[in-house]
């Protein structure tokens, strides 16, 4: 049989026909398209679908910002999958802000510190918890032996709560008075209350009932105070026929949602408030009680002389007629309320401005009245057992604090050649990012020989630290979260762990307790608790049962009773108004954008994703500028922004909502730590603005800085 070309042809054709007719071809075609439908199609995609399971909801509290909203976490078996607002929670009643909702992304943040770290050279190496605690305790006991315990300092985010309480207790029993908190609305309220009503008080604003809110730059719907509580108060404004007037140089979201936006030259809010006080006094619209305030007559004299309507309008740029009309309608309103704290209320604020605005509240007599400003005692629900201090502790503790606020501490450390601070604890704050002029802050921290960071992420400050003792994120820890930040009610929430800790981290309370125990002696005696849980139950015994059962305890709610004495002599001396540093012609002011976080934690990848391309384009920050001021600059084009503190390459967004002569740059960008979704995008506005210390209060009150753009 002669096999020739034709038979091969036949063979080939036969095989092909056989295969095509058999179901194999169709099956492979069908299966290959089904393969593209599975999530394990490509090695870099998911290797298995998200597993199903029993749905359960656990309630907890979010402590990402001082708002302390109640959250409800949806879980599949033991996997948390979604965070939303907790219905009927006294603060936020169901809503939640975008950062809280994206909370789970912090759990798996690429920049999370997985185990305790020890710095050697400029690299970190992993060490165990016991070694880390021993090392810290060793260092601290050397400092104590050297006889100057006050050289231990601690920077925390807030002074309230059991964990801050433990830090304060450790410092006190160690013998150091140097416990500092980062500037926040809570600290500013306490300073203002101290200036006008005496120590140990704070202020709450009853926004839910006020029917005429006068906001001096407060971003009521941009993260000011307790954000979601303010959102709800603003949402009900229309039904309550309440008015909102927003006074700030820029058309912010609050100004856009307000009934009236009053553009004002940056940094002159204090003068406007005093101008309005002058009008109220002149037209005799003030509350009769006001005559009894100490320094009242001095104030009236000073206002007549310094703050006549024409003079004020010349300083602030607001027409005199408007000032008068606004002051009169404010005084005449049933429940007027003036609010202060530019933007989110943290960052830099001036005491003169806050006191002036609060004087408005005092003059119209809406103090401790429905819809007014509540003067509340500091939230002291904690019952720590008395500290037993040995004499080094007593001697050290009696010494004066190195500085009243963090920026003074930084200045002192930089100024002196020999170390003023030997060891520094940094808890839940990021001074190397959130304070003005971070370069000098880094310099100062570099000078401190021993820095311990309790951060969950390797952020700017933790990178400068020698030891990092990573703490749980808010979804992994049990902690009491007291409300604050201008809330009209005082509430304490309980953050509950909704998931087993993902990495080898600890509750910061446990870390402090184990450090104290390692120090033995008189310090250890003050920390008898086995674990932080036991300590928490012990110190919040009064409200522990309601805390543990329904996760929240409302300390005080309605209008506070009792007489409040008002002393307006501080403002009567007419302290000097802060001017912007530098002599360029334009003014650069920071913008608090709700979708970013300015307090040092970085925004989550989801939050960064919602940031508009008129704020962040690629890795370039976009500044807002009025078209008139930006003559020659192209919209979305590049420009160089120069301030006395430095220069930055920015993009330009021609925005009619910005006052001519003012440039706005968003806060919360320019992070430099290792998280590609969030870091190395844009510029940290604090790099461009230097601190300006207000003489009357010692606060950093720089509302912006002079700048030029080309």
């Amino acid at each position: 049989m002669k096999v020739d070309r034709r038979s091969f042809l036949g063979l080939g054709l036969g095989a092909a026909a056989g295969i095509t007719v058999s179901p194999m071809m169709l099956k492979i075609m069908d299966d290959s398209s089904i393969l593209t439908q599975t999530t394990k199609t490509w090695p870099w995609a998911l290797d298995h679908p998200p597993f199903d399971g029993e749905v359960s909801y656990e309630s907890s509290v979010c402590s990402l910002c001082p708002g302390s909203c109640g959250i409800s976490v949806r879980k599949i078996d033991d996997r948390p999958v979604k965070i939303e607002g907790l219905a009927d929670y006294p603060i936020n009643d169901g809503g939640a802000c975008l950062h809280g909702i994206a909370g789970l992304q912090y759990l798996y943040d690429p920049a999370r510190v997985k185990t305790p770290l020890k710095k050697n050279g400029d690299k970190f190496e992993e060490i165990s918890w016991d070694d880390a605690i021993a090392l810290v305790a060793g260092k601290l006991s050397d400092i104590r032996k050297s006889g100057s315990p006050e050289k231990l300092a601690c920077i925390a985010d807030k002074g309230q709560g059991s964990v801050s309480g433990l830090f304060k207790r450790l410092l006190k029993t160690f013998g150091s008075p140097n416990f500092y908190t980062m500037p926040s609305l809570e600290s500013y309220l306490e300073v203002t209350a101290a200036a006008l009503h005496g120590e140990g008080k704070t202020i709450g604003f009853d926004l839910e009932n006020a029917n005429f809110v006068l906001s001096f730059g407060a971003g009521i719907i941009e993260g000011w105070g307790s954000p979601v509580n303010c959102f709800k108060a603003n949402a009900s404004r229309k039904d309550r026929h309440a008015k909102l007037y927003q006074i700030e140089p820029r058309l912010s979201n609050t100004a856009a949602n307000a009934d009236k936006w009053i553009p004002i030259k940056p940094g002159t809010q204090a003068d406007l408030a005093l101008g309005m006080c002058a009008v109220i006094l002149k037209n005799n619209l003030f509350n009769s009680m006001a005559t009894g305030f100490t320094g009242f007559s001095k104030l009236t004299a000073m206002l007549q002389k310094e703050y006549s309507p024409s003079k004020t309008s010349e300083i602030t740029g607001v027409k005199a007629a408007d000032i008068e009309k606004m002051a009169i309608s404010f005084a005449k309103a049933k429940m007027p309320l003036a609010v202060f704290g530019k933007g989110r209320g943290d960052g830099a604020q001036s005491l003169k401005e806050m006191a002036a605005v609060h004087t408005l509240n005092c003059l119209v007599g809406n103090i401790n009245k429905k819809g007014g400003a509540f003067i509340l005692p500091k939230n002291d629900y904690l019952e720590f057992p008395g500290e037993s201090m040995d004499n080094t502790a007593r001697k050290g503790f009696s010494k004066a604090k190195t500085g009243r606020y963090v920026n003074q501490l930084v200045e002192k450390v930089n100024a002196s050649s020999k170390p003023v601070v030997e060891a520094l604890f940094v808890y839940n704050s990021n001074p190397c990012y959130a304070l003005h002029n971070p370069k000098s802050v880094k310099e100062a921290i570099g000078k401190i020989p021993f820095v311990v960071s309790f951060s969950s992420y390797l952020d700017e400050t933790a990178m400068e630290a020698d030891i990092v003792l990573p703490s749980h994120t808010f979804v992994e820890r049990l902690e009491d979260v007291p409300s604050g930040a201008g809330l009209a009610k005082t509430v304490v929430g309980l953050t509950k762990p909704v998931i087993e800790p993902v990495f080898d981290t600890k509750n910061p309370g446990d870390a402090v307790i184990s450090i104290a125990k390692a120090l033995e002696g008189s310090i250890a005696e003050n920390f008898e608790w086995e674990s932080y849980e036991e300590c928490l139950e012990n110190v919040t015994s009064g409200i522990w049962d309601s805390l543990s059962e329904d996760g929240v305890a409302v300390i005080s709610e309605g209008v506070p009773s009792g007489f409040v004495n008002v002393n307006i002599s501080f403002i009567a001396n007419n302290p000097v108004t802060i001017q912007a540093q530098g002599d360029y012609d334009l003014t650069l002011i920071p913008i608090d954008n709700m979708r970013l976080i300015s307090a040092g934690t970085a925004a989550s990848p989801f939050a960064i994703k919602t940031v508009a391309d008129t704020v962040l384009k690629g890795t370039d920050i976009v500044v807002e500028i009025n078209p008139l001021t930006a003559k020659g600059l192209k919209d979305k084009g590049f420009a160089t922004l120069t301030t006395p503190m430095g220069t930055a390459r920015v993009k330009v967004n021609l925005n009619e909502g910005m006052m001519p002569g003012v440039i706005g740059m968003v806060e919360g960008l320019g992070h430099t730590f290792d998280n590609k979704f969030v870091s190395n995008k844009g510029v940290n506005v604090n790099d461009l603005i230097g601190p300006v210390i207000e003489s009357g209060s010692g606060l950093d009150a720089a509302f912006g800085i002079k700048a030029k753009i080309s």
């Binding site: 002669k2 036949g10 036969g14 026909a17 058999s22 194999m24 290959s32 089904i34 599975t38 999530t39």
Partner: protein, 221 residues
Amino acid sequence: MSEIENKAENGSTESAGECTSGDTKDDKGLGLGVIFFIVAFVVCFLSGTLLFPKLLYSKKEQPFNFDHELHVSEAGDCDACHSVREDGSFTGIPKLAVCLDCHAEDPLGETEDEVVFVEEYVNKEKEVPWLVYARQPDCVFFSHAAHTTNTDCKVCHGPIGESNSSRVYEENRLTGYSRDIWGKNIFGIKKHSWDRMKMDDCAECHKKETGHQGYCFQCHK
């Protein structure tokens, strides 16, 4: 026909002889080609139909044998272990906790499968990695709550309740899905309703029961 073609045809006669114009030889050559064709056809067709499914589906054994019949008589009907929760979601294959209602450290019966179960899983508190015959693809949403009220489990799962040994779990090597979904018979011919549980099978029953095949999002997620 175009002129060029005529030219080409005449030209073929005197061109070089190396091309074998086969047609002038005997016609057996053509027959040989046909035979090869048929042989190759049959071989390939059979391999495609019989051999290919064996290659496509991998055979796996359950971690240990499970006797449904015994458990049905002991613990009660299907929903004793596979129950619908009160929020309507379906528990599916029971977790170890459900087994521990009856089982403990020492085996109840004498089968050595139960010994494996007790030693490997109960004592080590490890979930049993069951291979789920009826696992639908990831994109499918199936509501047992909606079906258990009016359809018998046998309709989709077959007589598994009466079986006393775990049959072999066949998984499609390409897609990773169980063969019970795509059907035993490669041509998709179904003897019982549970031989295949693809989209068309669901559509068929929905069409009968509700008059409409159902909208996409009823069964997709």
